[in-house]
Symmetry: D2
Subunit: 239 residues, 4 copies
């Protein structure tokens, strides 16, 4: 069955910075959604400016995996919508925050940590290494790939110890970063992927698109078992 | 150096239910603080009814480990105080929620999950098994110990996969539960311990007190390394 | 593509104990292979008595997932074949040891621990609880299922902390056990499942068969990325 | 109580390469043991050439933590001594393999993986970043430290997902590596630390010595609980 993907973007840089608008004429959400549609997913997009940020209960109900890009407007996402996303993840929806989506309310609420990092603008080389070559999110990738110009993120990265660390990045300026990390919260799968800075055409890069597509496949909901919560009778009956 | 422990209790059952007041004349917080003081910790107590619930910035600054009991009044803890506790954990304070402290705002915010369970009142036997006999929180314990009468908690327990599962409980009615689970969030150590229901004198039980004391020792802050966050110059200087 | 499953059995109880032979006329391997074939997997069987225990390099090359039952003859498996299985797991083959297959050479070599437990014969009730209702190995299961008569295994279970704990068992006699645990070693996925004692018709039980089928599906090899080992030139060329 | 540390070294490069002998006139084991003695540990040394490699049952009984350096002679360690080390770790002895000690028989048997890496000789800069600033093995360290000249180790590093990743290294040539990783096997704590190549005076470096000392402190045995293995009577008696 075709997976239903919603690509969410705060869509602010595209409106305020002409260079970003020129680079991503359909928005970062448009570029990512196109890349996923080409790879066979059914996609829709939603942005901060939409009513309820485009993430109504109906939209989330129909979403298998939510890909999320955000940066400067993380604080403008309503608490209600953030909690709705968190609840949907608990129920099984996959969640794939890109770049500074790691600072988004849903990701931070799911992690329980600050998600703090160090960073540097200016455009330097990043080499993304596969640390877990057996992981499906690495399917079909070379052992590493280069992002020619990007913003740097550096360790320490204040996250819970990941379930799996799929990618670790090397930066020209001397830093390292766990660029692809996996978690489970409730029934939902989460993959946070570092690349995707808006000042460079990174989201058009073949390897980056492949990672996002692999992550969507990996984060798709599974059936799982029944679960009963609340007050119950004894499982074993007294003889 | 003597560890500084703050024992926090919502202190509601003690005021509303004569049997609980009789069982715990100094409150659950008093019983736990006494047990820890006898074991060499420097203790203080704080309750929901205190200004800022007794958890001012000053108190938390002076607290190495916060032991937390709560149940029916989890919703009455202010968001501000809950976030202050979470921040203190991130900075290194240990956090030991007891019993339905697993439903407290700080614990749920640190976990990022619902922490849901199933439960049953009525008073049945619980046998607490050590699943990780090499863990310091199990120091000095027998391989299992019995709680003669308690409320049941049953799996599934909606928590992130624990860093270590120290205890797993067996219940007379047929259920099982991960009764002692360890986490790290930021610099802080967290140990959630299931026993401690207010309807029985569980917190006077020797093994239960020893687990709490061991957990306090284990959760104490460590020095760690420097950490630099935010915008930085390159670590490597261009030649 | 249809998954290729090899079901391996030491096949000793079947030859030495008439009751077991009567219970499993095609051997435990036959019963498990039939159950998997009915669920759409392509299956073959192999036993201790076959040349190279039936696990030649060719057989392992054609095996996506190896299901393994062993008990009294764990010591008779040759070191060479045990290492061949371990190597195949490192290369991506799934491995699903059942019952005391947890004492097999391949499993112990993959774990690096003793895998010790406590146990008791006699036939008592086991209730297998799903601890991770979002896990694909729990697909389609009720929240728990009962095995009417079995050998007991009890904690502590000397294994590395699992990547995921899918099942925890309750026993009539008062013990608990992590009955379904997941690991990764190299590119390979491992799921150790406790039920399957030869003295009872457990491997004919619907829920048990479904867990094994789910585990085979989950443990199937994935493509992953390229990996380069050994001496290399610098990834970054000097300017 | 003063911790008893045994520093083991294959002691082969020191005998075969004059430059190494000159750099480490008391052997790598001597340099490491001196550094630990200065920091208050009680130390002894043992080498491959000693009877039973100096690791008799008596020596291991008296050892709280075993620090291990090996490289070209990993294959010459007897299986019996390797298993004796593994057994001692299971019983609680700490184990701290340095550098290519990651290829030693005990470490590989404890991990259950190949521990493969990529590497490059030639002397390039390594920057060791603290990824887990709250970890006691990072106590007192700056956020990163530089090793001016070393052999490179690069990802992927074929190990089980670590319990904690304390250090990640950046290399001048473009690679990254998880340089400090923590595990538990049985009751024992394991910390594998990458630095320590024999061609450079790395083991005299202050930060490297401090990491090893911190690791010894962290890996020390703890009391833990009783554990009962084998056949048992029911924990619960029939009524």
């Amino acid at each position: 069955m075709t997976l239903q993907v919603t690509v969410w973007n705060e869509n602010v840089h595209e409106q305020e910075e002409p260079e970003v608008a020129e680079r991503y004429p359909d928005g970062i959400h448009g570029a990512v959604a196109d890349a996923l549609a080409e790879r066979g997913f059914e996609t829709r997009t939603a942005t901060l400016q939409d009513p309820e940020h485009g993430l109504t209960a109906e939209v989330l109900d129909e979403t298998d995996v939510l890909v999320w890009w955000s940066h400067c407007a993380n604080g403008e996402v309503s608490d209600e919508v953030a909690d709705r996303v968190v609840d949907a993840v608990h129920e099984g929806m996959g969640f794939v925050p890109l770049h500074s989506g790691k600072n988004s309310k849903p990701f931070k609420r799911l992690m329980g940590t600050t998600c703090n990092i160090k960073y540097r603008h200016g455009g330097e080389t990043e080499r993304v290494w596969v640390a877990d070559p057996g992981h499906p999110i690495a399917d079909g990738l070379p052992e590493s790939f280069e992002i020619p110009s990007t913003e740097m993120y550096g360790e320490p990265y204040d996250i819970p110890e990941p379930d799996r660390t799929v990618f670790i990045s090397w930066f020209e300026g001397g830093e390292v970063f766990r660029s692809g990390v996996c978690y489970r919260r409730g029934r939902g799968r989460i993959f946070a992927f570092r690349p995707g800075h808006e000042e460079y055409p990174i989201l058009y890069q073949e390897e980056v698109q492949q990672v996002i597509a692999n992550a969507v496949e990996w984060a798709a909901p599974t059936e799982g078992s029944e679960a009963v919560w609340g007050e119950v009778e004894p499982a074993e009956s007294p003889e």
